[in-house]
């Protein structure tokens, strides 16, 4: 895992540092330009759990794609484990996704033709590692689904699917787990179970960043970042920020 240019004490380093980050669509044509993410800066320390909230269109999904190295910022800097993502080429970004990022999607995004353990194994196969099966089984154990290892996604309930997806996100021991509305497709009870699982993983030291507009999901994180029109309008402890968010949106919600 350790590369020559990475500091040997990874734990000591801030995994995510973002400085003046911008993502502008149609940047070449002023009249069409959409400033989806418009000059934001923040850091995420190891072991934090952060929720990014905001109304639809506030740029939180775009931010998530940039954080996940699926998309490149138009300008600004994004250091993931000390390396500037904007300077990575496509293969290096794929490797960064593989090594440092674990995605949990709203719609699970399990591959339907593979059983649970094969889905979890996939990132390890792309990493070209050995003992992939054993490690995938251990990850399934962590999410409490060892007994469902050979079930296909269509044989699993929604909550189970999301737990398989979480196991897939964890299996490479990434720097951060990125969740995009992880409870959005689940009923409230299963949603709570999934949040409890994420809470437990967080307690075990996993760094978690969730994009959500479910306030109960946001409330269970340490820290909340509020976004509006591509800018950060609030960043602080969960309780205070949620209070501010509710105040701000009182008119719209009612």
């Amino acid at each position: 895992m350790s590369l020559a240019h990475e500091p040997p004490t990874r734990a000591a380093q801030t995994p995510v540092v973002i400085e003046e980050l911008r993502k502008i669509y149609h940047a070449d044509r002023a009249e069409l330009a959409v400033r989806a993410v418009d000059g934001i800066s923040f850091r995420i320390e190891r072991g934090e759990s952060v929720a990014i909230v905001g109304p639809s269109g506030c740029g939180k999904s775009t931010l998530l794609h940039v954080l996940g190295c699926l998309d490149r910022p138009t300008s600004g800097r994004y250091f993931l484990e000390g390396r500037d993502v904007a300077r990575l080429d496509e293969d290096e970004r794929a490797a960064a996704r593989n090594r440092h990022i674990g995605f949990v999607f709203q719609s699970f995004n399990l591959l339907p033709r593979m059983d649970a353990v094969e889905n979890v194994e996939l990132p390890l196969l792309y990493a070209g590692q050995r003992d992939t099966r054993a490690r995938a089984l251990r990850a399934l154990e962590r999410v409490g689904l060892a007994d469902r290892a050979h079930h296909r996604p269509n044989e699993l309930s929604g909550g189970q699917k999301q737990r398989v997806a979480i196991a897939r996100a964890l299996v490479t021991e990434p720097s951060i787990v990125l969740g995009d509305e992880p409870t959005g497709a689940l009923d409230s009870r299963t949603g709570r179970e999934v949040m409890e699982l994420l809470g437990r993983l967080h307690a075990e030291g996993t760094t978690i960043v969730l994009v959500t507009h479910d306030l109960s999901v946001a409330r269970s994180q340490d820290r909340v970042i509020r976004m509006r029109d591509g800018k950060i309008v609030g960043d602080g402890p969960a309780a205070a920020e949620i209070e501010a968010f509710v105040q701000e949106n009182a008119g719209e919600i009612a």
Binding site: G68, L70, E90, L111, Y126
Partner: protein
């Protein structure tokens, strides 16, 4: 990702959709089957031509009259005579000579009646052509001189006239003249046009004096002592005949000399041309098969856009995606190729068994078919695979 993992993924995705995979491979299957069958027929024909060359012996020359340039097409070709044959027999390096005359006449035995090629030959004809009588006897020099009314029947002619009964000693009518059958030739099977099976042989003297009333020869077959002397003997015969026919130095030959080997080589070349022609028609269907693969792969990429996005999100590089789809295309085309080889083998067998053509699948055909299959998979798979690998992961994940 390791290649065997990629292959496993490809195989699984194909196995999931058996009917589609089979239909995709169908074009390849048909193409490869056709190519294998055509090659087998071509190779079989070549082998049977070579077999004939070997059976004939390679040291025979055939001298035929050649009509003079500009002569009317239907003009009778009257340049070779028996004296020419006798003179050739005296040449150094010549082991035997068989003057032959041809004609066509009605042959009758009781109610049975057929039109047959009547060959006037001497006693030397059978040994020179490596032919033998299956029953009865051949001609003697006296038969020729005495214009004896005796005939030797080719196997097919004998069967047509007499069925399974013995023909020896029976009286038949050739162009209204009574002949006694003294021999029947052994069956040679199909040896191309002018098969001895379909001929009636009579003494040359009888042919000239009794049946057709003309003394010009259709051909002189010359047996050369050894194959190495063949070219020298051919030159000597040429000089001799020009001299005997009093041709001026600038006049063209009024005869042509060809070796049997040459004639069969010509036939072999024709067979080869046919094989190449049919083979390229079959190859076009391989092309169509490749386009079929490309078509389905494009559909597959579209359908699995989200899967591609997920794979990219968990760390697949562009070349991993490229390889995955390329391997899928190649697996389909190899599958098509293997099934095609099997069906081609079956077709070759059936053609030999029921069509009566000799078929041989040359060993290189297996390698060729497989190699071409792989190449087609790559050539037609690389486009769709590139398309898959250049998808934007964000867009791909958004796809329903």
């Amino acid at each position: 990702m390791l290649i065997h993992e990629t292959a496993r993924t490809a195989w699984r995705s194909l196995a999931q959709n058996r009917l589609r995979t089979a239909l995709t491979a169908l074009g390849m299957i048909i193409g490869v089957t056709a190519v294998i069958a055509v090659l087998a027929i071509g190779e079989g024909a070549k082998a049977s031509v070579e077999g004939r060359i070997r059976a004939l012996g390679s040291n025979l020359l055939t001298v035929r009259p050649e009509r003079a340039q500009g002569a009317v097409r239907s003009a009778r070709v009257e340049t070779l005579v028996r004296a020419d044959a006798d003179a050739i027999a005296e040449l150094d390096g010549v082991e035997g000579v068989s003057p032959e005359s041809t004609g066509t006449a009605q042959v009758k035995y009781r109610e049975a009646n057929l039109s047959s090629s009547i060959q006037g030959v001497t006693a030397d004809f059978l040994p020179l052509r490596s032919l033998d009588v299956a029953s009865g006897i051949g001609f003697s020099p006296d038969d020729d001189l005495g214009r004896a009314r005796v005939a030797i029947l080719g196997a097919n002619v004998a069967y047509e006239l007499f069925g399974d009964r013995s023909a020896i000693g029976e009286r038949i009518q050739i162009a209204g003249n009574g002949f006694t059958v003294v021999g029947v030739l052994g069956a040679k099977g199909d040896v191309g046009f002018m098969s001895p099976d379909d001929m009636v042989l009579v003494p040359l003297g009888t042919h000239e004096g009794v049946l057709f009333g003309q003394s010009y020869l259709g051909a002189i077959t010359v047996k050369v002592r050894s194959e190495g002397e063949s070219e020298d003997v051919r030159e000597r015969i040429g000089e001799l005949l020009r001299l005997r026919h009093r041709l001026r130095a600038d006049a063209p030959d009024d005869f042509e000399i060809r070796s049997q080997t040459e004639m069969l080589a010509t036939m072999g070349a024709i067979t080869g041309t046919f094989t190449a022609l049919l083979g390229s028609v079959a190859a076009v269907s391989l092309l169509v098969g490749g386009i079929g693969i490309m078509n389905i792969m494009l559909v597959s990429v579209r359908e699995r856009t989200r899967e591609i996005g997920v794979r990219m999100a968990v760390g697949a590089r562009r070349r991993d995606i490229l390889l995955q789809f390329l391997v899928e295309a190649v697996v389909v085309s190899i599958f098509g190729g293997l099934v095609g080889i099997f069906l081609g083998w079956l077709a070759a067998f059936a053609i030999a068994r029921f069509g009566g053509w000799e078929t041989i699948i040359p060993t290189y055909a297996y390698g060729l078919a497989l190699g071409v299959s792989i190449a087609i998979g790559i050539v037609f798979g690389v486009g769709p695979a590139r398309r898959a690998s250049t998808l934007d992961p964000v867009e791909a994940l958004r796809q329903e």
